[in-house]
Symmetry: C2
Subunit: 337 residues, 2 copies
DNA sequence: CCGCATCACTGAACCGGGTAAGTTGTGGAG
DNA sequence: CTCCACAACTTACCCGGTTCAGTGATGCGG
């Protein structure tokens, strides 16, 4: 089956290619009558502009890129990324932008992918996640002048826009809630330590615990996987002076922690309260359902996509705070026995 | 920063654009010495061929498409799709093919996306998942002559290649295992009923139960979500003649089923044995860890990508069986009390 | 009735890589 | 020494949109 081109439309409408291009793009230069005729022919023959030709003649590629830099086994089970992706799609799909995905192993590879995409003119901009301190991707994106938005922070990303959520406020709320329930020994199992938002959370956790006079408020670094979550939980629970509540940096580790507690014969929430970060269906799936720090990940993604499209269109975008994180109490938290 | 083009390379090497093109693509027509010189210049200035120009001049777009047609809240938690995606990437990344993703709500929208992608020449082929009986996407793909591979089946997809796994054999193995443990009342909670692989599994389940003389071997249809998994499990467990073992069509529903059993005060595996389909980290995360029907999803995806690349290159591909599914016994199965 | 602006369009160049057809230059066979 | 085959290029056009510089035709004020 032959793909229709603007030349086909031009022939059928009895006008030139240029006129068709103006008509289809809503540019001035054709009469309303001709425009309507051309549009109806385009509709009739099922015309879609060849994205390659469009991109080649200096216009947009109408695609944005996303690299995922986490091991496959984490990606699979983490609801976070898929939530984000479906959020992107909501905005991108509406403007028929495509989303190009690449799974990589290291930040260095990510930089390579950015360079390749840029050289290939394959994408108009990128969405950057898992931002670190002094992230090596930032200077490269600036050098290439590739429009971008960073998800995460707040932190220093120079002129590149950030979409961030108030992690510090959220963890403060969680700790206050646990203290109000009567907990004094609260621990935390964190995600990958050199990610910016992990550091923000850790700092805020230490601050609020100090402010409330909690000692023993330690953070054990982990990596978001269930295995590490279990290991960290065991380390916390085997000591004599064990915590009565644990806050986990993601839902997967929280579920793993719950399993460890059950395995050790501890009752949740009787002996141990559990708070998960990021409220996915996973949290309401287990027994007892987990108290969680919820945010609308999909809306977060949609907002990021919108800001990126703005950046691509040359509108300057500043730092934006995404929707608030709020605590959703469920069966995994209670006053300590 | 200006993007280098083959014209830049040609100028620096003192040859014509054509020679550069031949050299970069490994075509005959240039001497080894010239080819090396050109390649080293390309390397030095960080050349990447403009994918738009390449696609426009009749060559490949070097991208493949994937549409995901499930509600966001399922996509997020289902490890299946992300596993598949990282499998694709392994093959695609190696040949620097891009993966273009689109989340849609209905099969009709999927067809629209295929048509648009085809018209835009944006992709060279598509990977089709969640295949149904008389799937509306198949005739469209044939009409457009868009290279494709179907994941799932076996079923009738005409000339389009399929990658399938032996679901019938797997469920037979699971039932035999439970019977060997001493179970007589085995139930199943299935995924979306009109998907082809669900039907294959249901048929095989009925066959093996009939062959082994099990009565009460009912299948309750669900939709892969935790909520439906819980509901189906409750329905099965409130009856007087409740099953002693349940097989779930995915891991999410199995975990939900486990929570329901615990909530009802039933011990797993003492009162109820649970088998999950698709062994994700989720299965070893909960307590007790779930016995599962394991397959290497990532390898499955890689194989599908490879076959698609073959199809794009014009090599005919037949139906391929992916790696075997095998039963991984864990703590959630035992002889009934 | 002339001159000028405006509209509605045409024609052609352009983007950057692929490739068929044409042009050298060289070596070896006859 | 001539002729031919072949390697090693160059030239020129193609892909399908976008865009800019024209070109008639029309309208309108003076």
């Amino acid at each position: 089956m032959k793909r229709p081109t603007i030349a086909d439309i031009a022939r059928r409408a009895g006008v030139s290619k240029g006129a068709v291009s103006y008509a289809l793009n809503g540019q001035p230069g054709v009469s309303e009558a001709t425009r309507k005729r051309i549009l109806s022919i385009a509709e009739e023959i099922g015309f879609n502009a060849n994205s390659a030709a469009r991109a080649l003649s200096g216009a947009r590629a109408r695609a944005v890129g996303l690299t995922l830099c986490r091991p496959a086994r984490i990606l699979g089970i983490e609801p976070w990324f898929m939530g984000l992706i479906s959020g992107f799609e909501a905005e991108l799909g509406a403007r028929s932008y495509a989303l190009t995905l690449q799974v990589v192993a290291t930040p260095e590879q990510e930089v390579e992918v950015y360079r390749r995409w840029w050289g290939e003119r394959r994408i108009d901009g990128v969405i950057v996640t898992d931002i670190r301190e002094d992230d090596i991707r930032i200077p490269v994106l600036q050098q290439l002048q590739l429009p971008a938005v960073v998800i995460g922070g707040p932190g220093d990303t120079g002129p590149i826009a950030q979409i961030w959520s108030d992690d510090a406020g959220a963890i403060t709320e969680a700790v206050r809630y646990l203290v109000a329930l009567g907990h004094h020994k609260i621990a935390r199992v964190s995600g990958v330590a050199d990610l910016l938002h992990t550091q923000n959370r850790t700092k805020a956790f230490e601050n609020v615990c100090a402010a409330l006079g909690l000692d023993n408020a330690i953070t054990i670094p982990a990596d978001y996987t269930g295995e590490e979550g279990s290991r960290a939980t065991r380390r916390l629970l085997i000591g004599g002076d064990r915590p009565t509540a644990i806050i986990y940096d993601n839902d997967v580790m929280a579920v793993a922690g719950l399993a460890v507690a059950q395995e050790m014969g501890l009752s949740v929430p009787g002996d141990l309260s559990i708070v998960a970060w990021d409220d996915s269906p996973l949290c309401s799936l287990v027994h007892p359902p987990l108290t969680a720090l919820s945010r609308d990940i999909s809306a977060y993604g949609a907002q990021a996509a919108l800001e990126l499209l703005n950046a691509i269109d040359g509108r300057t975008v500043g730092n934006v705070e995404a929707g608030r994180v709020h605590l959703t109490p469920r069966g995994s938290t209670a006053p300590p026995r």
